[in-house]
Symmetry: C2
Amino acid sequence: MKYPNGQKNYTKNSSHDTARRGMSLEGDINSACKYYLDMDKANIHKKPTPIQIVKVDYPSRNKAKITEAYFKVPSTTDYNGIYRGYYIDFEAKESRSKTAFPFSSIHPHQVKHLKSVLKHGAIAFIIIRMVHYEIDYLIKAEDFILFYESTSRRSLPYDWIKEHGHMIRSRFLIPCDFLSTIDEVYFRSDKK
Amino acid sequence: MKYPNGQKNYTKNSSHDTARRGMSLEGDINSACKYYLDMDKANIHKKPTPIQIVKVDYPSRNKAKITEAYFKVPSTTDYNGIYRGYYIDFEAKESRSKTAFPFSSIHPHQVKHLKSVLKHGAIAFIIIRMVHYEIDYLIKAEDFILFYESTSRRSLPYDWIKEHGHMIRSRFLIPCDFLSTIDEVYFRSDKK
């Protein structure tokens, strides 16, 4: 087994620091990724939004202007990269509900993608921001998939998230410090 | 050291099968990635082209039409994913020159990116297609960077590519079978 343990250790603690948290989860994660890259801690990037380009104009010699294009449904998750030698893969989503994270927020082929990378040895998860409570959780893909595939519900209840999720702290310059959470969830040595 | 050896073992052999090779290197690599994914061998994807979206119209309620956008310079390589538990990262480029691969084909920050992921433990490389000879080579990022940073040349000579590169074979359904080359270059057990 690659990951020393998967026990959560601070989800019971409801205190959190959101003072420096920015406006959107994506913006906050991108800031964290940039910080990790600058500090040489990890190399994780958001993938560009997939777009179907239909028409391109060349108003001047060196400038291509796309004049017709459409958004495509992404076939993978939004973020991937490398940390401590491991392939990291995750999706990040906000929930505006007070009671749940709706499954409609995540595409079935993104779940399939998470399953696939897990099988190949990835550290894979979903980051969920409960907007109302201003708390971010890391949900291990293993845990998410187990619930997702065994339930007839159409959402992840907030109670489940609190119990199985791992809270992500906000720090100075790192509004969503998910690497620290990865350290605690996947790399913490089993001290008792 | 993670990788059992890095010796090349078949670059002296100039025979190759290009019978089923497609039109573009990108198309061939995408076909290979799809095959590996379907066969559950690896999960490697091309990243979408980064685009700066300026204007979006909504001609109908559910359809967003991008009417003004521009290509951005990519800050990472084109391909990444996971294979045998390892983070894989590479750039793929064609060279139409008979004698070299021009450094202008690869952005300096892509080289910086390869250096960074290597440092974090990635299997990182460049795939170069010498269009004139119809041969694809895997060049380990370590080898490429060493030459790139120590030369005053503006290209990688073809002789250097033949000597340090690892030929990628073309197989039935896998026009550019780079996983087999990864196996040979990074995972071959040291038999003598």
